[in-house]
C-alpha cells in the first residue's frame, strides 16, 4: 500500500498543485470556475499537450528531443505552402506533413542509435535542420484560407452542462488516452521503460533497443507534426518561426509531471497535468491583467526548480530505503 503511494507520489503532488492552483484562481476571480475557461485551457494548450506526450516517451526512454518546436514550425509552413501555393486539399497535405515529421524523427532516432551519439546534440542538429528547411520554404507568415480550416475550427463537442471541447482539445485528449494505453499495456511501452531504466540490462533482456529508439523518436516527430497541424488550425497560418521555445515548455511539462529525466520512470498523465499547470499560470496572468507576461517565465522557472527538488528528495528517500520505483 505504501509502495503504491510512494510510486504515485509525484503524480499526486502534481495533481494537487493543479487543483489547488485552480481553486486559488477561482477564489480570486469569480468567473474563473467556468466550463468555458476549462474548455479554453484545453484548446489553447492542445498543441503543447500533444508535443509533450511525444517528449514524455522520449524522456522515458532516457533521451531528449530538442527538435519538436522546430518540427511544429516546419509543419505549419509545409501545410501553408502545400495548401495556399500548391493548391492542395488540406487532407492529403496533413498526411504528407505527418509522414515527413514522423520520418524526420525516426531518422534522428536512427542516427542516435547507430552512431551512439548523445540525443541532446543530434536533436539539436535536427532543430537547426527543421528550422532551416522552414526558412528555406518561406520566411513569410502565410495565412491559410481554405474553407476546410473554418469548418474544422467550428467543429466542437458540446455538453449539456456547458463544456465545449474543440477539435484540438479532443485531439489532445485522444492522444493522451492512446499514449496511456501504449505506455502501460503494450510491449512497446514495456520496452520503453526497460530501455530508460537501464539500457544495458534492457539489451541483455532481449529488448530490441535499436527498433525502440527509432520508434520513440519517430513517434515524437509524428506527434510534433500533429501538433503542427493543430497549431496551424489554431493560428490559421504557417510561419517558420512558429512555436519557438516549445521544446523547453514541453520538457518543463514533463518534469513538472513527475517523469524522471534520467528515464525509466514517469507517467503520461503526469505530463498532461504539467501542461495544464503551465496553461493555468498563463490564464491566471491573463485574468489578472496587471501582471506582465514575463512573470509566466519566472513562475514556470520557479515551479520547475521546486519539482526538480522534489524529485531529488524522493530519489534520496527511495535510495535510502534500498528500493527503486518499480517500472510501470
Amino acid at each position: 500500500m505504501t509502495g503504491a503511494l510512494q510510486r504515485f507520489l509525484p503524480l499526486i503532488v502534481t495533481t494537487a498543485v493543479l487543483v489547488v492552483g485552480f481553486l486559488i484562481c477561482a477564489a480570486q476571480f469569480p468567473n474563473f470556475a467556468s466550463w468555458r475557461v476549462v474548455g479554453n485551457l484545453l484548446t489553447d494548450n492542445a498543441f503543447l499537450g500533444i508535443t509533450a506526450v511525444g517528449m514524455t516517451f522520449v524522456i522515458l526512454s532516457g533521451g531528449i528531443d530538442l527538435s519538436v518546436g522546430a518540427v511544429i514550425g516546419f509543419t505549419t509552413v509545409l501545410l501553408a505552402v502545400l495548401i495556399e501555393h500548391g493548391g492542395w486539399h488540406p487532407v492529403p497535405a496533413f498526411a504528407v506533413a505527418l509522414v515527413v515529421a514522423g520520418a524526420f524523427g525516426a531518422a534522428m532516432g536512427g542516427v542516435i542509435h547507430v552512431f551512439r551519439m548523445p540525443p541532446f546534440i543530434v536533436t539539436l542538429a535536427g532543430m537547426f535542420i527543421a528550422r532551416g528547411l522552414g526558412f528555406v520554404l518561406t520566411t513569410d507568415s502565410i495565412p491559410i484560407n481554405h474553407p476546410l480550416y473554418g469548418e474544422l475550427n467550428d467543429m466542437a463537442l458540446r455538453f449539456d452542462f456547458g463544456l465545449k471541447l474543440s477539435l484540438p482539445a479532443l485531439l489532445m485528449l485522444g492522444v493522451v488516452l492512446a499514449a496511456v494505453v501504449l505506455a502501460h499495456w503494450t510491449r512497446f511501452g514495456a520496452n520503453l521503460y526497460a530501455l530508460g531504466g537501464n539500457r544495458q540490462s534492457a539489451e541483455l533482456m532481449g529488448v530490441p533497443v535499436g527498433r525502440t529508439t527509432v520508434a520513440v523518436y519517430g513517434l515524437s516527430g509524428l506527434l510534433a507534426g500533429l501538433a503542427g497541424i493543430v497549431f496551424s488550425l489554431y493560428t490559421g497560418a504557417g510561419y517558420s518561426l512558429a512555436a519557438t521555445g516549445v521544446e523547453l515548455d514541453t520538457i518543463t511539462a514533463v518534469v513538472i509531471g513527475g517523469t524522471q529525466l534520467t528515464g525509466g520512470y514517469g507517467y503520461v498523465v503526469g505530463t498532461f497535468v504539467g501542461v495544464l499547470i503551465q496553461g493555468l499560470i498563463q490564464t491566471y496572468i491573463t485574468f489578472d491583467g496587471t501582471l506582465s507576461s514575463w512573470w509566466t517565465k519566472i513562475a514556470i522557472g520557479v515551479l520547475l526548480f521546486v519539482f526538480i527538488l522534489l524529485q531529488k528528495g524522493l530519489l534520496t528517500v527511495w535510495a535510502g530505503r534500498g528500493g527503486e520505483p518499480a517500472e510501470a
Binding site: I64, V111, H113, V114, F115, R116, M117, P118, F120, I121, V122, L124, A125, G126, M127, F128, I129, R131, G132, L133, F135, V136, T139, E203, L204, G206, P208, V209, G210, R211, L248, I251, T252, V255, L261, T262, S292, S293, W294, W295, T296, K297, I298, I300, G301, V302, L304, F305, I308, L309, K312
Partner: protein, 352 residues
C-alpha cells in the same frame, strides 16, 4: 578515450577547416583579406569575422570548461540578456561605467553560482539545472528592463562594443584577454587537470582528493562571467538591451563552437583555443553565406550539416562503417569502441 590521436595532428582538422572556409570566402569575394586602417581602427571582412564572432567565442570559452566537466550550460543566452539588461538600465539611471561593469559582471557571477550550486550540491543533471535559468532568465531580464528595449547614449559603455584599442576592435581585445586569463588559470595551475578529472569520473576524482563541488561551481561561475562579458559587448554594440532577443539561441552556437573545436561532449578533454577557432569557423561560414548571395536562411542547415559531420567523425561506432574484413556485418553496433564481437547479441526477434 575518444579519438586520442596524439600530437599536433589532432588540431589540424580545425585549423584546416578554418583555412578552407576563409579561402572559400576569398574565392567568392576577392577583397576578403583586404584590411585597411581608418580613424585609428582596422576595417575589413576578416576583422568583421573576428569582431562578430567575439560574443560566441566568449561563450565558447566558458562553455568549454563546463563541457569538459561533462556538463552543459544552456543558460548562457539568458545570462547575456540579464547582464545586458543590468548594464543598460543602470547606465540609463545615471550610474558610472565602473559601477555598471561591476554590476553586470556580478549578475553573471550570481547566475553562474546558481547553476553551479544546482549541479555541484544538489546534483541535478546539468541540462536540466541550467534549463531552469534558461526559462526564467529571460523573464528576469525583462523584469529588469520592465519589458522595454532600454537604450542609452553613454559613449563610455558604447566603447566596449564599438571602440578600439591599438587599432583592434574592443570585442576582439576582450575575447583575447578572457582567453588568455582562462588559459593561464587552467593550464598554468592544476585546475585544468582537475576539471578533466571531474569530467572523466566525478566519483573517482573525488576519491582522489579533488574537491569536486568547488571545481564544478568554479566552472559554472566562470561560464556565467564569460556570458556576462558577451552580454555587455552585445548591449554596448547596439546601445541598448533587448531582453527578448539578446543572446537568443547563442547557447546553441556556443555548444556548436565547442563541438567543432573538438572538445568531447563526454567530458574529460578540452581545447580552449580550438573552441575559439570553432566559433570563428561558424562566423566565417555565416559571412561566407551572406557574401555568396545565398539566403541567410541556409545558415541553419549548413550549421546542422557541419555539426553532424564533426559528430560523425567523433562517433565511436563509425569505425564499423569503414572498410573492414568481409563477413562481419555492422549490425547492432553493440559494446564500447573497437573490438567488434564476432557474434553481436541479436537485436530484434521476439523469440528468446
Amino acid at each position: 578515450m575518444m579519438l586520442s590521436a596524439p600530437g599536433p595532428s589532432r588540431n589540424l582538422p580545425q585549423y584546416g577547416a578554418l583555412l578552407v572556409v576563409l579561402l572559400a570566402n576569398w574565392l567568392l569575394f576577392p577583397d576578403f583579406f583586404a584590411i585597411r586602417l581608418q580613424d585609428g581602427r582596422l576595417f575589413g571582412s576578416l576583422i568583421d569575422v573576428l569582431n562578430r564572432g567575439a560574443p560566441v567565442a566568449l561563450l565558447a570559452i566558458g562553455m568549454t570548461m563546463v563541457i569538459a566537466t561533462r556538463g552543459v550550460d544552456l543558460s548562457v543566452g539568458a545570462v547575456m540578456a540579464i547582464s545586458g539588461a543590468v548594464a543598460a538600465t543602470m547606465t540609463g539611471a545615471g550610474w558610472g561605467l565602473p559601477a555598471v561593469l561591476a554590476a553586470s559582471l556580478a549578475a553573471g557571477l550570481l547566475c553562474g553560482l546558481w547553476n553551479g550550486l544546482l549541479v555541484a550540491v544538489l546534483r541535478i543533471q546539468p541540462i536540466i539545472a541550467t534549463l531552469i535559468l534558461m526559462v526564467a532568465g529571460r523573464g528576469i531580464a525583462q523584469l529588469i528592463t520592465e519589458g522595454q528595449i532600454v537604450t542609452f547614449t553613454s559613449p563610455a559603455l558604447a566603447f566596449i562594443g564599438g571602440g578600439s584599442f591599438l587599432t583592434v576592435p574592443m570585442p576582439v581585445v576582450l575575447t583575447i584577454l578572457v582567453l588568455a586569463v582562462t588559459a593561464l588559470l587552467v593550464r598554468a595551475t592544476a585546475l585544468g587537470l582537475m576539471i578533466e578529472a571531474v569530467g572523466i569520473n566525478r566519483l573517482s576524482s573525488a576519491g582522489a582528493g579533488v574537491n569536486t563541488p568547488v571545481v564544478l561551481v568554479a566552472v559554472y561561475v566562470w561560464c556565467g562571467l564569460c556570458a556576462a562579458v558577451a552580454g555587455l559587448i552585445v548591449t554596448a554594440d547596439i546601445r541598448g538591451a533587448d531582453a527578448n532577443n539578446a543572446g537568443l539561441w547563442l547557447e546553441l552556437d556556443a555548444i556548436l563552437a565547442v563541438v567543432v573545436g573538438g572538445t568531447s561532449l563526454l567530458g574529460g578533454r578540452f581545447g580552449l583555443v580550438l573552441s575559439v577557432v570553432g566559433a570563428l569557423i561558424i562566423q566565417a561560414m555565416n559571412t561566407g553565406i551572406l557574401l555568396s548571395g545565398f539566403k541567410p536562411e541556409f545558415n541553419l542547415i549548413v550549421k546542422a550539416g557541419v555539426l553532424m559531420v564533426v559528430l560523425l567523425l567523433q562517433s565511436p561506432t563509425l569505425t564499423l562503417f569503414l572498410p573492414r574484413p568481409k563477413g562481419a556485418r555492422p549490425m547492432g553496433a553493440v559494446k564500447p569502441p573497437v573490438a567488434p564481437p564476432p557474434v553481436a547479441p541479436k537485436s530484434g526477434g521476439a523469440k528468446p
